[in-house]
Amino acid sequence: MLEIRDLHVRLEEEDKPILKGLSLTVEAGKVHAIMGPNGSGKSTLSYVLAGRDGYEVTGGSATLDGEDLLEKEPDARAAAGLFLAFQYPVEIPGVNNMTFIRTALNAQRKARGEAEISAPDFLKQVRETAKSLNIGPEMLKRAINVGFSGGEKKRNEILQMAMLAPKMCILDETDSGLDVDAMKLVAEGVNALRAPDRGFLVITHYQRLLDHIVPDVVHIMVDGRIVETGGAELAARVEREGYGALVKATA
């Protein structure tokens, strides 16, 4: 589904290479996790895949179901089925959360040549989905992420993910800033979306999120490359031994 081959990326402003030949394939129906120490390039990978400005791809490729992602604008990548759950969801005052989700959904449908969702259908669906994530109607009516707690912001990301029904979900440090209860709620939301035709890439620094979203494959990323790949037990090893041992072993 998501295929990244020998990806090289540098920060435009600092002329600094961040990703140094990263390769990774996420199959449909699978949950892959990327773990790594701070500064290893995990968040850069998520931004580059979603199309944020400020990064230059100097080599390699990234495709979703064979379609080149890197040439597309961010909105076209979303319409192609890519979703990024932000580490720091952006607050946008004055834009109603529900209006935002409907605008996004209809923009994607339009880009794919599909009909817009009817207002009653949307309303029904968004209310049901919100309820399952413990998101009340008042949160739907508020401005996007404005005045939301850390947990509410992350649940709002999962709500958008559920409503947009992407093929490929990237979760960037979704556990950061969450207490255990909030993390469980978010993880349940993600698990509910696991499906045979959907892939997940869960980026995290700590193992704890992976106790709740159990991955099929775990990759360890150090200094812009994948240095080790294994099963869920690899995450437990990182937790036990720390990244230091792995960094040394691959140096």
Partner: protein, 429 residues
């Protein structure tokens, strides 16, 4: 300091401005006196020039070209420009070429409201008008000259005189349009008595428009203007005096068009009053919009707010000059001012000049100003959800302007402004 030659030039231009306009006729002695004093004020101050500190960012040349009044427009159907605010229940008072047009106006009569053409109150001894016409304009010249407002007092013969004694159910809509070249002057007088409340809408503002607003203790006035692509240079002045506990809100949306200078001069004359002045500017092409605000706190525990948002594209320019002046008696003043701009192009330009002058020691006053591009993080967030660039920009611009729009009390009117902002962004192409 200006040279003697410049001072002479200013006076000569002021004389020429006056000479181009006919002397009002058939007015009562008090009105003639008020006119004479205004002529002196204008001649003493002289016409504004770029060298005046108050006109540093806006070249007034286009506003000081002497011109005879525009000829009356032929009778005919309703010009579309008068239909702004359509859909919002309001009684229209129509003006075409600076002249009131009863044939295009609604019946404005409502409980709590007495309304007359300006000429009528100036021809009689109407006590409330006598204490108001030219009085707030003159008071507003205390710290800085406003010659174009004095010109209006000296020469404007048309406008609406509103005396509000109760809660007026439906808003009044002062609508103007101009067909053909020449000067158009309007002067509106508004006195709201204690217990009175009214909403005034204004659109298609005449080239030189002055509104004097006098709020008795506890009176409420809401004023909402839509300046949609003015075809000719426009200078407006709103003078408001607030009695104790009075509430005043004014909001202006200015979209594109010719050079526009809007001055709002507000004075707190009684304690515990509240005055909010807000505006949004949408500028593209060569448009030039200057919002200049002067707030005088002359009483205790009053709250003033100035919220101005400008969205600038192309080679558009916007200016915000805002001053909070707190007299020694005005303890516990709460004054707030913010002016912010989003620049959508490299050639757009915003200049802000915030000023505080405070003589009381127990006050809370703050001001802030920012200029920059649209938030890159916000744009990426919206686009990452599938929203195309232009649509994402429009959403962020709507979000940016919302703080000013939120100053409007009526949700229906807020929606009209939001829709105008969305249309403007939609027309970017």
């Amino acid at each position: 300091m200006l040279s003697e030659k410049l001072i002479d030039d200013k006076r000569r231009t002021a004389e020429a401005l006056l000479a181009a306009l006919p002397l009002p006729e058939g007015e009562s002695a008090w009105a003639r006196d008020a006119r004479a004093r205004a002529r002196s004020r204008l001649l003493d101050a002289g016409a504004p020039i770029r060298r005046d500190e108050y006109w540093k960012y806006t070249d007034p040349t286009a506003l000081t070209a002497p011109a005879a009044p525009v000829a009356p427009a032929p009778e005919g159907g309703l010009p579309s420009a008068l239909a702004l605010f359509a859909g919002h229940a309001a009684r229209r008072i129509a003006f075409v070429n600076g002249r009131q047009r009863p044939d295009l106006s609604d019946d404005a009569a409502q409980a709590g409201l007495a309304i007359a053409p300006l000429g009528e109150v100036l021809a009689h001894d109407v006590t409330w008008a006598r204490g108001l016409f030219g009085a707030l304009e003159a008071a507003g010249q205390e710290k800085v000259a406003r010659p174009l407002a004095a010109l209006n007092t000296a020469a404007a013969t048309e406008g609406a005189a509103l005396h509000v004694t109760g809660a007026v159910a439906e808003p009044l809509h002062l609508a103007h349009t101009q067909i053909g070249e020449g000067a158009a002057l309007l002067r509106h007088l508004v006195r709201v008595e204690s217990g009175g409340a009214v909403t005034l809408l204004e659109s298609g503002i005449a080239g030189n428009t002055v509104m004097e607003i006098d709020l008795a203790p506890g009176a409420v006035l809401r004023h909402i203007r839509l300046q949609d692509a003015p075809e000719r240079p426009t200078a407006t002045h709103v003078f408001a005096r607030l009695g104790a506990g009075a509430k005043f809100q004014t909001f202006t949306l200015t979209a594109d068009g010719s050079l526009t200078r809007n001055e709002v001069v507000m004075e707190f004359a009684g304690d515990d009053a509240q005055g909010h002045i807000a505006g949004a500017v949408l500028g593209r092409g060569e448009s030039h919009v200057d919002n200049t605000v002067f707030v005088t706190h002359g009483a205790e525990r009053c709250e003033s707010r100035q919220v101005f948002k400008q969205v600038l594209d192309g080679a558009a320019k916007a200016i915000f000059q805002g001053k909070i002046f707190v007299r020694q008696v005005a303890q516990k003043t709460d004054g707030y001012q913010i002016s912010q701009s989003v620049l959508l192009s490299d050639d757009a330009e915003f200049s802000a000049k915030p000023e505080l002058e405070i003589y009381a020691d127990d006050v809370k006053c703050s001001h802030g100003s920012t200029t920059g591009a649209l938030d890159e993080g916000g744009l990426f967030y919206l686009m990452a959800r599938g929203i195309p660039l232009r649509q994402a920009e429009a959403m962020l611009v709507g979000s940016f302007v919302e703080e000013a729009v939120a100053e409007i009390a009526d949700e229906d009117l807020r929606e009209i402004m939001r829709a105008r902002v969305a249309d403007w962004m939609g027309a970017r192409g």
